[in-house]
């Protein structure tokens, strides 16, 4: 059954149809929540709340990209959850240790290390934690755009639909988020390969 049929049935109260949509999108929704919230438990709560809100508000869905509509609810749930915590300080690197089981990443750069490369795996883990820590240090609006475009690979239009802002806003927030990330990671340049060191050529 295609997505439109599932949405139509779910609109008529067919919970099984909506659960099939949840199964289709729950990995994506949870990972956006995880990178936005910073910890697995909060991300799971926000994701669950988002799916519940989506089911109850399904009648408000008027067509278009269901994926964008759903992810907008997910990001709003993250905003609400963070607001409830009264904007607690950015998560420390230690708080990110128990992240959960990884699904294979696209690049494979930080996938499961072979037993023969424990040092490389340790360095990758350190870099991953550094990036996650810097990500959490970003303002929430910048972080959401960085998660959508840089981590989840959305284009500007799709990200614009999710956050409900013009493409120009996405473009601006993303550029500034990258600039802040670069500044944050500059102090951990030893974690990058020599060719990827975040140093100005003028300083070398």
């Amino acid at each position: 059954m295609d997505e439109k049929s599932l949405i139509r049935d779910a609109k008529h109260g067919d919970l099984d149809a909506f659960n099939r949509l949840i199964i289709e999108y729950q990995n994506l929704a949870f990972n956006i929540a995880l990178r936005t919230m910073g910890d697995s438990a909060s991300a799971a709560d926000a994701t669950q709340e988002a799916f519940l809100s989506a089911f109850k508000g399904l009648r408000k869905y008027r067509g278009g990209s269901f994926r964008s509509w759903l992810l907008r609810i997910v990001t709003n749930a993250c905003y609400d959850e963070l607001r409830r915590r009264k904007r607690r300080p950015a998560a420390s690197l230690d708080a990110l240790e128990d992240e959960g089981e990884f699904i294979a990443s696209d690049s494979g750069a930080w996938g499961q290390a072979s037993p023969a490369e424990p040092e490389q795996e340790a360095e990758r883990s350190e870099l991953r934690k550094a990036i996650e820590g810097c990500l959490q240090s970003l303002p929430l609006d910048f972080r959401v755009v960085a998660v959508l475009v840089d981590i989840q690979g959305h284009d500007y239009n799709a990200a614009s639909e999710v956050i409900g802002k013009p493409v120009g806003t996405v473009k601006s927030r993303l550029a500034r988020a990258r600039k802040r990330m670069r500044k944050c990671l500059e102090g951990r340049r030893e974690l990058f390969a020599p060719a990827d060191r975040l140093e100005d050529e003028g300083r070398l």
Binding site: G100, K171, A175, E201
Partner: protein
Amino acid sequence: MNLDHLPRRELERLSAYLDGELRAGEARKLELQLQRDPSLRDALRQLQVISQSMRALPQVKPPRSFTLSPDSVGLPQRKASYPILRFATALAAFALVALVGIDVITGNLIGAMPSRALQEAVAQAPAAEELGLADAAKSEVGEMDEAPAEAPMDEMAAAAEMPVEEEAGEGLAMAEPAAEQEDAVQAERSAEEPEEPGEPPAPAELPPQPEPQLVETQVSEEEPLLGYSAPTLPQPDALANQVEHDEPIAVEPDQQPVARPSSPRLWIRGIEIGLAVLTLVLGALTLWARKRS
């Protein structure tokens, strides 16, 4: 050029160029600048490293499934009735269409049968035509044509042989099933055989309709119950007179044995009506359940 010192507009252009989000004209213009300005190229490289580093973050498997239960969404169980009702409506409609289709097909097949039954019935009653009962037979045939698919061949053949006999019983024989009528005829024939053993069987030579009529009429006034067992054959003159006298009665279509619909077809009609009603009720319930949900 350090990213910190890059004008905001240039930073956004570089970032968008990195993602392929610049228009073609802007992209060409920026590429010319990049060829001339090494610090701009360095800024682009740094943005690229950051972007690739974030994109390489692994996807994490959710700790649990987020599927919803009816309790969690406050959904009453009755809402699950909609898909069930929808399926039941479709099933009932399909069964109705299939049954009507079968009924039409079999009805067409049976509809071709009465003409053959008619020929047999006429062939078995040649004497009746000789005695002027052809009109009666035709009337009966006409009646069978009106309900061609509803009378089995055996019943029609028996009816063609003994219409008057049933009248003589003053409605008694008409109230009996066709099988009993046949039994009565056979009993009569068997009763005739011992009286005139040298003669051929009576039904083959004697006029079938008027003869039993006469006998039964005569006997019924005195001993109605013995009418079928009376072996005495009437005189030809009396028989002819009686036939002439009785002929209008035999021709009356209302008193002819009516070819009734066979019970299986009645059952099919009943099931069809029942299925149609069921389909309508289920359809209404489905719409109602859909509206409620």
